[in-house]
Subunit: 207 residues, 2 copies
Amino acid sequence: MTVATLTSEAKTRSRGRPREFDMDAALDSALRVFSERGYHATSISDLTEAMDLASGSIYKAFKDKRGVFLAAFGRYRQLGRRRLEAMIASAETGRDKVFQMVMYYTELSYGEAGRKGCLVVGGANDFALLDEEAAAHVVTAFAADEKLMADLIRIGQADGSIPKTVDPDAAALAFLCFTKGLRVIGKTGRSREEMMSAAEAAMKLVT
Amino acid sequence: MTVATLTSEAKTRSRGRPREFDMDAALDSALRVFSERGYHATSISDLTEAMDLASGSIYKAFKDKRGVFLAAFGRYRQLGRRRLEAMIASAETGRDKVFQMVMYYTELSYGEAGRKGCLVVGGANDFALLDEEAAAHVVTAFAADEKLMADLIRIGQADGSIPKTVDPDAAALAFLCFTKGLRVIGKTGRSREEMMSAAEAAMKLVT
DNA sequence: TTGATTTGGAAACGTTCATTCCCTAATTAT
DNA sequence: ATAATTAGGGAATGAACGTTTCCAAATCAA
């Protein structure tokens, strides 16, 4: 069963009793819990409560706890990517697009939202040495971010908003570390102003 | 029972049967396990095996699993701080001290060492919303790093190696995010060269 | 209508978990 | 010597965990 099957409505109605719950809403609840508690501290009880499903139903729909996480992870990435691309599209120059990407993560990293944390960063911590396949999904998510950032930097170099002296790959990885670090520090509950000042400072990476 | 009591030899021998195991060695084993698996995925079994102690002995010495973590966390911080300060002391200018601090974290963030991860970053993920007191220890650790970095930047501004135009507090927080992000990305297994290139790029924060 | 298929959910299952108990061993104090 | 105290560790405990089972309900196919 693929993530696509789990997260989008099937085109044709399948046989048997139709699913009663809304998959996307259920996954939104699941990812909220996983984000707040981390994978290993999240119990099936936590999930049944948050998703408003009996444990049997969860197991029928997702195979096991890991399956719930992977499906929620897929949805988290999909939603995040959509919002991120919208912010980037609103900017004119490459440098502004980079700034918008930094802003995207900054706005997620303070106050209560920041405390809830990032499912990808959490996944890196929860799975790196314990679940090779889940860890690979995390690697993919980071790689997508890194590539997007490098592309934006190259756009900036093409339109003159970012100096040619910047190494796009090195700067992209530095931004990746910075933005994921924002999410880690955000778990400790910092103010918007502090995080914004750090984000503005980080823009020196493309000077 | 304080962390100091747990991590350093008592000055005067106390009454009763003396402890047979080496506290520092036991905590080194414990922090290795907590680092690799995270707090919630680490069982008492994992700890008895790694620390070579029976569960009863662990509970006598540390009260509970959380007590083992907090003691290991204290030792991790103490060891790390000592090494970090040695590297900083080897540099002449403020800017070089900042670079050495960045290098300290970079050298921990690639290959197998990187995969094992950071107990403080892991702690932020494992405790932020679940254990207020443990989370406070994480906050303290981050704050110490942030303050040290700000101090180094001010030293650089005093000795002329860092421009006065840099906002020391904003840059220090940006470096904090960057270095903790390095540790997150390091969990996915990157090469030394990649991490070094990002670290060099990050030095633009103090230009 | 009947059978096949799929979902929903409550209860049951076996395992693993963190923790406690209790007995023995080693030391200090008297 | 003997008592008091503390450490070591194996076995026991009760709770919580992830998962499976089983049956009723809802749909499609024939």
